[in-house]
């Protein structure tokens, strides 16, 4: 009996010790890898603290009074209007397409499991895997400069972002009404319209508003690659080293983003009570 206990104890301490040793080795290996990566990236670690003093110096001396008079000139305000229009068009078109994509990509109510389900999933994965700015650059190369490339990039971003959240909402619905309708012989389209949409509609409205405010942030930058909106002024001023003007544009962007967040918060509270 005591023999058995001793062997169990021995076994316990042996595995515990080897586990600890393994963990220690893992941590050590990871730390040495981390140190190696700093070396690999050529980061001047010994100058790191001094560097941040320089950031502050440059930030406050060269950038700090943001030139708001420059940022408020009519040609920039026109681009602000263009940016806002781009977000609305992209959000609207994207949400309309995302309704179908999320329906196809929801396993429980998808109309066709062999063909449309992989299609829906594929669209979601493909749109998510490429950053929106790269979509913007590709579309500018294909369609030419202008806000149309931006609207399509924002549409893709909406499909990837809202579509995923929307299909997760569909997968979480109560299947009772769906089964009841299927039992009466309703096809997938009617099941979707009359038993899925009524259940997910409030959540979808919340997602659509949240998505609008999330793509707003991306839209202020899209102009950087020529895809429309006020980001173009950011690029121009940075290239001409006009940092005070650039900071004016950045301050304008921050103001717009905060306004869009407040608006989105208000609208979600009004139309969608959790």
């Amino acid at each position: 009996m005591s023999d058995q206990l001793a062997s169990v104890q021995h076994e316990y301490f042996r595995t515990a010790r080897s586990g600890r040793l393994l963990k220690f080795c893992g941590v050590l290996l990871f730390l040495s890898f981390a140190v190696w990566t700093i070396h690999h990236l050529n980061i001047p670690i010994e100058r790191l603290l001094g560097i941040f003093g320089r950031v502050g110096d440059i930030f406050f001396n060269r950038m700090m009074p943001p030139d708001m008079a420059y940022a408020m000139q009519p040609s920039i305000l026109y681009r602000v209007l263009e940016t806002i229009e781009m977000t609305f068009l992209g959000a609207f078109a994207g949400t309309m397409i995302a309704i179908f994509v999320s329906w196809f990509a929801a396993w429980n109510v998808t109309p066709n499991k062999t063909f449309l389900y992989p299609l829906g999933r594929g669209i979601l994965v493909l749109a998510r895997s490429v950053p929106v700015l790269i979509w913007g650059m590709l579309l500018v190369a294909i369609l030419g400069f202008g806000p149309m490339a931006g609207v399509i990039a924002l549409t893709l971003l909406t499909i990837s972002f809202a579509g995923k959240l929307m299909s997760e909402q569909i997968e979480a619905i109560d299947m009772g009404p769906v089964e009841a309708m299927r039992a009466t012989g309703a096809g997938p389209t009617r099941v979707f319209i009359f038993s899925v949409v009524p259940q997910v509609k409030p959540a979808w409205i919340g997602i659509a508003i949240y998505n609008w405010d999330s793509i707003f942030r991306a839209s202020t930058i899209l102009g950087f690659v020529g895809a429309g909106g006020l980001g173009i002024y950011l690029r121009m001023n940075i290239q001409e080293l006009e940092y005070e003007n650039a900071m004016g544009v950045i301050a304008l962007i921050i103001g717009l983003v905060i306004i869009s967040e407040v608006t989105s918060h208000y609208l979600r509270g009004r139309f969608y009570q959790e």
Partner: protein, 282 residues
């Protein structure tokens, strides 16, 4: 017997009253007109359709982006650099976000009237500035290379990590903390031994989630000279080497997909059930 022959559902339904219907249609019509006006402005006034050419032109331009696989080995090194930038940016953000979360949590903030608004302001500023803007500022101050990219990602991620952590701190179980305070423990020890163990799983899950998001963000930072794969992409785009640019897009997509799968695996293993999945952005 209910009258099932006529439109009985319209009787006494407040949603079917004429004024309600008119109001609803009025709002929908207004939204439709506004959208149509915006579409007219963007797609007709602002778009140069002649330059775009016909559908055949668009398709042939698109076909030029087909990936050139011979270029793939060359982008492996920048992809690895992107991964490292994302890793160090997330690490930096985690280190800074913990004190910010501490002062931005309503129940533990040291001096409510000053530290709480300060913490909230840091969170809002970090969340509402795009990573490219941070990168532009830090590139002009620190010069080219991965360091401004790491700092930019760090600044961008503080907001999300501090926000979720401070919300987790606000929702902790008060009992262990009261027990520790009753024995006279100082606030730092209360935070380390009473609060931190409770929020630890949430923090780890969010850090891994943020690492996955930062991989996507790090891929574009190179466009402004902050290191990583984005530099190769804009270089190839400017040289009109569109096959090579297609290869870079393929590489980024593969890296992001693998990163997302790994991050989901680890998160479901670490906190089984808690959290759930989220889409990109924050």
């Amino acid at each position: 017997m209910a009258d099932i022959s006529g439109n009985y559902s319209a009787q006494g339904n407040p949603l079917r009253e004429r004024s309600v219907i008119l109001k609803r249609y009025g709002w929908n019509a207004l939204a439709g007109i506004l959208l149509a006006a915006m579409a007219y402005h963007i797609f007709v006034v602002e778009t140069d359709w002649a330059r775009m050419g016909g559908l055949a032109d668009i398709l042939s331009t698109t076909a030029e982006f087909l990936p050139n696989l011979a270029f793939f080995p060359i982008i492996l090194e920048p992809l690895f650099e992107t991964l490292l930038i994302a890793f160090w940016g997330t690490t930096l953000a985690t280190v800074i976000a913990m004190p910010v979360a501490y002062i931005a949590a309503r129940n533990v903030t040291p001096f409510y009237p000053i530290t709480y608004p300060l913490g909230r302001t840091i969170i809002v500023m970090s969340r509402s500035v795009h990573e490219l803007i941070f990168a532009l500022i830090f590139v002009s101050a620190l010069g080219l290379g991965p360091l401004p990219g790491i700092v930019a990602l760090g600044c961008r991620s503080i907001g999300f990590l501090a926000k979720t952590t401070s919300e987790a701190i606000e929702n902790v179980d008060r009992k262990p903390i009261e027990a520790m305070e009753a024995t006279g423990t100082n606030p730092i020890s209360v935070f380390l031994f009473g609060i931190f163990p409770q929020v630890y799983p949430v923090v780890v899950g969010n850090v891994i989630f943020q690492l996955d998001i930062n991989l996507r963000r790090a891929a574009i930072l190179g466009m402004v000279g902050a290191g990583g794969i984005g530099y190769v992409f804009s270089e190839q785009m400017q040289a009109y080497n569109w096959n090579n640019a297609g290869t870079v897009v393929l590489g980024i997509a593969l890296m992001v997909i693998v990163g997302e799968i790994v991050s989901n695996r680890i998160r479901t293993r670490l906190i089984s059930g808690a959290g759930g999945s989220r889409a990109g952005g924050d």
